[in-house]
C-alpha cells in the first residue's frame, strides 16, 4: 500500500466514526441546504425545530415548493407567505418556485405577491398549479431568467402586452385558458429557444384570430399534445419527438417533418364506433410526411380507461352535451374506415423505421393487417413489439401469433415480440 500513502495528503479525512454519531449534522451547511433543497418548503421550515444547528438552515432554501393545503384559507396562506419571504435569506436567489393551491381563488394582487419574489430573484423554474382559474400575473411572461415554465389551471387571458422569455426551454400548459388563439401564438412567439412543449386540454374563449401562416416554433425538439390543444401540427415541423393523444379528430397534417424520428400516438380504437378517434388514412398520411421516422409506437387506449371513465374523459372539456352527441355520431361514421394498403410505401418504412410497437392491441379494426404491412415493408426493422390487450383470450392470441410469425418479414434481422 506504499502508493496509497502518497495520496494521504489529499485524501486523508476524518477517521471513520461510530455509526450512531450524528454525522449528518457534522456536514457543512451547504450539504444540509442541499438536502433541504429537495423537500417541500413547509417541511424545510419544520427542520428549524430539530436543533440549534438546523434552526437557520431553511432560510437558505433556493428551491421553494409551497402548497396552501395546510392553511385554513387563502388569506392565511397569503399572510404566511409574506412573513416567510421576509424571513428567508434574500441575498440568495430563488432558483425554482413551485406553487400548488387547492384552496380557491386568489385575487390578482395576491398572485402577484406570490410570484414577484421569484421573478425578481432569478427564478429558472416556475411551476404554478392552481385549482381555480386565476389569472397569471403578466410579469411572469417577461422573466428573462425563466428556463422552465409549467402552468396548470390558470388563465392567460388578460391582455398581456408582451412576452419576452429569451431563456425558456420547457413550457408545459395544462388546462390553461386563453382569450383567443392569437394569445397562444403570442406566447409561443415570445419563446425563441423553446425546445420542449407539452400541451394538454387548452381552453380557448375565441377560436378566431388564427396565427399568421407559416408560423413555426423553429427550435422545438419535443412536443406532447394531449386532447384539444389548438396547436397546429405545422407549427411543429422541426420536432424530433412527437407524442400525441387525440381523443377527438386527429389534427390536420401539413408539410413534412424532416427531423421527426420518434412518434408516439395514443388513440381509442373502438369496434363499436362510439369512442374511436383513429383513422388509418390519417396515419398513412403522417407516415408519408415523416421520411426519417425510426420509432413508431401506437397505444390503443380503449380498455385502459374503463368504458364509463373513458366517456367522462371524452366529455371533460366538452362545452355542452349536444355537441358531444354530434361528435359521437360523427366519429361513428369515421371509424368505419378499414385499413387499406397505400399505393406508395412510405419513405420511412423503406429507409429508416427500426422499431414499431403496438400496445394494448385487440387486433381489431385492421390492426393486424397494419402490423403485417409494417413487417412486409420495413427494410431496416429491428423489432416489432405487439402487446395484446388483457381481454383477449389465449386462443385468439395464439392464432394471431401464428399468423404474425408466418408473415414474411423483409428485414432479415427483425425480431417479433408478442406478449
Amino acid at each position: 500500500m506504499a502508493q496509497a500513502c502518497t495520496g494521504e495528503r489529499r485524501l486523508r479525512l476524518r477517521v471513520r466514526t461510530d455509526r450512531k454519531e450524528d454525522r449528518i449534522s457534522a456536514l457543512p451547511n451547504s450539504l444540509l441546504e442541499h438536502i433541504i433543497s429537495f423537500i417541500p418548503t413547509k417541511v424545510a421550515i419544520a427542520t428549524s425545530i430539530l436543533s440549534k444547528r438546523w434552526k437557520p438552515i431553511w432560510r437558505s432554501q433556493m428551491n421553494l415548493d409551497l402548497d396552501d393545503k395546510s392553511f385554513p384559507d387563502t388569506f392565511a396562506f397569503h399572510q404566511f407567505f409574506n412573513s416567510f419571504i421576509t424571513m428567508r435569506d434574500n441575498t440568495l436567489p430563488i432558483l425554482s418556485f413551485h406553487l400548488t393551491s387547492r384552496h380557491g381563488i386568489y385575487s390578482n394582487h395576491h398572485l402577484y405577491d406570490f410570484v414577484y419574489p421569484a421573478v425578481t430573484r432569478g427564478v429558472e423554474t416556475l411551476i404554478i398549479d392552481l385549482c381555480h382559474r386565476n389569472t397569471l400575473p403578466s410579469i411572469v411572461l417577461t422573466t428573462k431568467t425563466l428556463s422552465v415554465l409549467k402552468l396548470k389551471r390558470i388563465k392567460l387571458n388578460n391582455d398581456f402586452q408582451s412576452v419576452d422569455l429569451p431563456s425558456l426551454k420547457v413550457l408545459h400548459l395544462e388546462y390553461v385558458t386563453f382569450k383567443g388563439l392569437s394569445y397562444l401564438h403570442k406566447l409561443l412567439s415570445g419563446c425563441p429557444i423553446l425546445q420542449e412543449l407539452n400541451c394538454s386540454d387548452l381552453i380557448m374563449h375565441m377560436h378566431t384570430m388564427m396565427p399568421p401562416l407559416g408560423f413555426a416554433i423553429s427550435n422545438l425538439v419535443r412536443a406532447t399534445l394531449y386532447g384539444k390543444t389548438y396547436i397546429g401540427l405545422e407549427w411543429l415541423h422541426n420536432v424530433e419527438h412527437l407524442n400525441m393523444y387525440a381523443y377527438r379528430m386527429p389534427p390536420t397534417i401539413h408539410g413534412v417533418f424532416h427531423n421527426l424520428t420518434h412518434l408516439e400516438l395514443m388513440f381509442i380504437f373502438d369496434d363499436l364506433g362510439l369512442y374511436g378517434t383513429f383513422q388509418w388514412s390519417w396515419l398513412i398520411k403522417l407516415l408519408q410526411n415523416t421520411p426519417n421516422l425510426q420509432t413508431l409506437i401506437i397505444y390503443d387506449l380503449y380498455k385502459v380507461l374503463p368504458l364509463p371513465l373513458s366517456f367522462l374523459f371524452l366529455t371533460s372539456t366538452s362545452i355542452c352535451f349536444k355537441k358531444l352527441i354530434f361528435y359521437i355520431i360523427q366519429q361513428s361514421f369515421l371509424i368505419q374506415e378499414e385499413w387499406e394498403e397505400p399505393e406508395i410505401v412510405p419513405e420511412c418504412l423503406l429507409s429508416r423505421l427500426t422499431k414499431c410497437s403496438l400496445t394494448n392491441n385487440r387486433l381489431i379494426h385492421s390492426q393486424l393487417p397494419f402490423a403485417k404491412y409494417i413487417m412486409q415493408n420495413s427494410r431496416l426493422l429491428n423489432t416489432i413489439r405487439i402487446r395484446t390487450a388483457e381481454s383477449l383470450d389465449t386462443n385468439t392470441k395464439l392464432q394471431m401469433l401464428i399468423e404474425l410469425s408466418s408473415c414474411p418479414r423483409i428485414s432479415p434481422t427483425s425480431k417479433l415480440f408478442f406478449v
Binding site: E8, S25, S70
Partner: protein, 176 residues
C-alpha cells in the same frame, strides 16, 4: 495486507487478455477491501479522478478510509449504470428499495466524499422523501440529531411552527 476480492458485479470483472486492464483502478475501502474498477468508473468519482490526475495517472490504488466495503459496491453499481446511461426511474426505485435508512445516510456521505453529483442529488431526494411528513422526533432519530433546545425554547418554536406539523404521519417503527 489488503485482501483482494473481485467485485460482485460481473461486468466489472477484468478480462485477462485485455491490455488496458493494467489501467484498472483499485479502490480500497475503510476496512481494507480492494475493489478493482475500470477507469471510466473512477471518472464518475470526482475525488478519485482528481487524485489520479494529480499524480499523472501513476497511482492507481486509492484509499477511501470513509467508505466501507458494505457501501462501496452500491456506489460502483450506481456509477456503472450512470456511464451506461441507464439511470431510469425504475432502476432508482429498485436501487433504493435495497437500502435501509442507515445505508442511505452512509451512501449520501460517501457520494459527498467522492463528489458524485448525480448520486448525491438522488440520495438527497431519497432522504427528503423519507423525512417528509414525519414527526420532529422521527427526523431527530433518523439523523441522530441531539435536541439542544431547552424545553421552553422548543415549546415556543413548536407554537410558532404549529402549522408545519399538520398532516404529519404517525411514526412507524424504526426501519433500521
Amino acid at each position: 495486507m489488503a485482501e483482494e476480492v473481485s467485485s460482485q458485479m460481473n461486468s466489472l470483472s477484468i478480462s485477462e487478455t485485455n491490455p488496458s486492464s493494467s489501467a484498472t483502478i483499485s479502490l480500497v475501502s475503510g476496512d481494507d477491501i480492494v475493489f478493482k474498477v475500470e477507469p471510466t468508473i473512477a471518472k464518475e468519482m470526482e475525488t478519485v479522478q482528481s487524485f489520479i490526475d494529480e499524480t499523472d495517472g501513476k497511482i492507481t490504488t486509492i484509499p477511501l478510509p470513509n467508505i466501507s466495503s458494505h457501501d462501496l459496491p452500491y456506489v460502483i453499481e450506481y456509477c456503472e449504470k450512470s456511464i451506461a446511461g441507464k439511470i431510469t426511474k425504475e432502476f432508482e426505485a429498485e436501487f433504493v428499495k435495497k437500502l435501509n435508512n442507515e445505508e442511505v445516510k452512509e451512501l449520501f456521505l460517501a457520494a459527498n466524499y467522492l463528489n458524485i453529483k448525480k448520486l448525491l442529488d438522488f440520495l438527497s431526494q431519497v432522504i427528503a422523501d423519507r423525512i417528509a411528513n414525519k414527526s420532529v422526533e422521527y427526523v431527530r432519530r433518523y439523523f441522530g440529531i441531539e435536541n439542544d433546545f431547552t424545553p421552553e425554547e422548543e415549546a415556543k418554536l413548536r407554537e410558532e411552527l404549529a402549522w408545519t406539523f399538520t398532516g404529519v404521519d404517525p411514526d412507524d417503527e424504526d426501519e433500521n
